[in-house]
């Protein structure tokens, strides 16, 4: 006997439930969680390192580093800055998922932390679909990638809470139409909170650190 079974279930449902569980763990420990997404080389690690340099004493950061390959280059840099860091090797997968974050949280000293930054795998397509349970999804776009990225990768701009526009020190060398870029962002995610800065010169970090400190200390 053949029968039709109505389901109407979101494919991402099981990941999203794990993500909710992660958020509960973060909340219990009064930790603000950030999921940092970007294309390869946009400056995720540099951004975290520059943020570390400027963190006020009351912020206790832990970092989760995602990479497709079993390399610890990025997490070594974070650890060298005196910050607890866990490396996740996704085994070729192009994104982190909630399950991987759950395992990584296990390895961090949660009781000592009030901020966790997750460096997602460098990719503009896949990470967008996978909620991790963090409180803010942040994309780092960078000037050399070009001003058309919102138009070509609308997906990743949709679910963002904050946009970082990095490498503004390179603006004199690159044809980047700020108006055009911002128009695309505005179409996809109206009113998106944006910080333009340089992880190389530190320009623009004050506003970002102020925002971050406020989020962490009011959590």
């Amino acid at each position: 006997m053949s029968q039709r079974v109505e389901i109407v279930k979101r494919i991402m449902d099981s990941n999203d439930r794990l993500a909710q569980n992660n958020q509960a763990i973060l909340d219990q420990n009064h930790i603000f969680g950030i999921n940092l997404m970007a294309s390869p080389g946009a400056g995720k690690t540099s951004f975290i390192l520059e943020t570390i340099k400027r963190l006020p004493a009351e912020i206790k950061l832990g970092v989760i580093e995602g990479d497709t390959a079993p390399v610890t280059i990025d997490s070594d840099k974070i650890a060298a800055a005196g910050i607890p860091a866990v490396q996740i090797n996704t085994g070729g997968e192009c994104h982190l998922d909630a399950n991987m974050i759950e395992m990584a949280l296990d390895e961090l000293p949660l009781e000592d932390l009030n901020l966790i930054m997750v460096e997602n795998v460098g990719n503009l397509i896949c990470p967008a679909a996978f909620q991790l349970g963090t409180h803010a999804n942040i994309l780092i776009a960078s000037i050399p990638e070009g001003d058309d990225k919102p138009y070509k990768y609308p997906n990743i701009y949709r679910g963002l809470d904050v946009l970082i526009l990095n490498k503004i020190d390179l603006t004199p060398y690159i044809d980047f139409r700020m108006d055009y870029f911002q128009q695309g962002v505005e179409m996809l995610n109206p009113g998106l909170k944006t910080f333009a800065l340089s992880a190389k010169t530190g320009e623009g970090f004050d506003a970002w650190i102020t925002w971050l400190t406020d989020k962490v200390t009011t959590k």
Binding site: Q3, I11, C94, A129, Q183, M187
Partner: protein
Amino acid sequence: MHELAITESILSIADQAAKENNGTKVTDIYLILGQLSSIVDDSVQFYWDHISLGTVCEGAVLHFERRPAMLRCKSCNHQYPLGEILQTCPNCQSPDVFIEAGEEMLVHHIDILREEP
């Protein structure tokens, strides 16, 4: 390439629904995928053929219903498809638009074979 994770998720949803309904075999799975889910049908099918082996879903046919991403203009109410690249309203050129459809990623229904009660 996040299609493997997606395909595993489809399998577990279909598998669970089949068990709950005393299904002995899943013959068809109907998916609704919005354009903005950026999922490639071919790779889902490719992974499916491997990971469904030996499960109640082995041999099930995947049906993909594609939903195009649609934008609507807040200035003139014109509706238009996102297409390959995001564009301002083709009717009045306003950038004041919003995405109305195309983000769906659903297992809508499945067809199963059941033992007679």
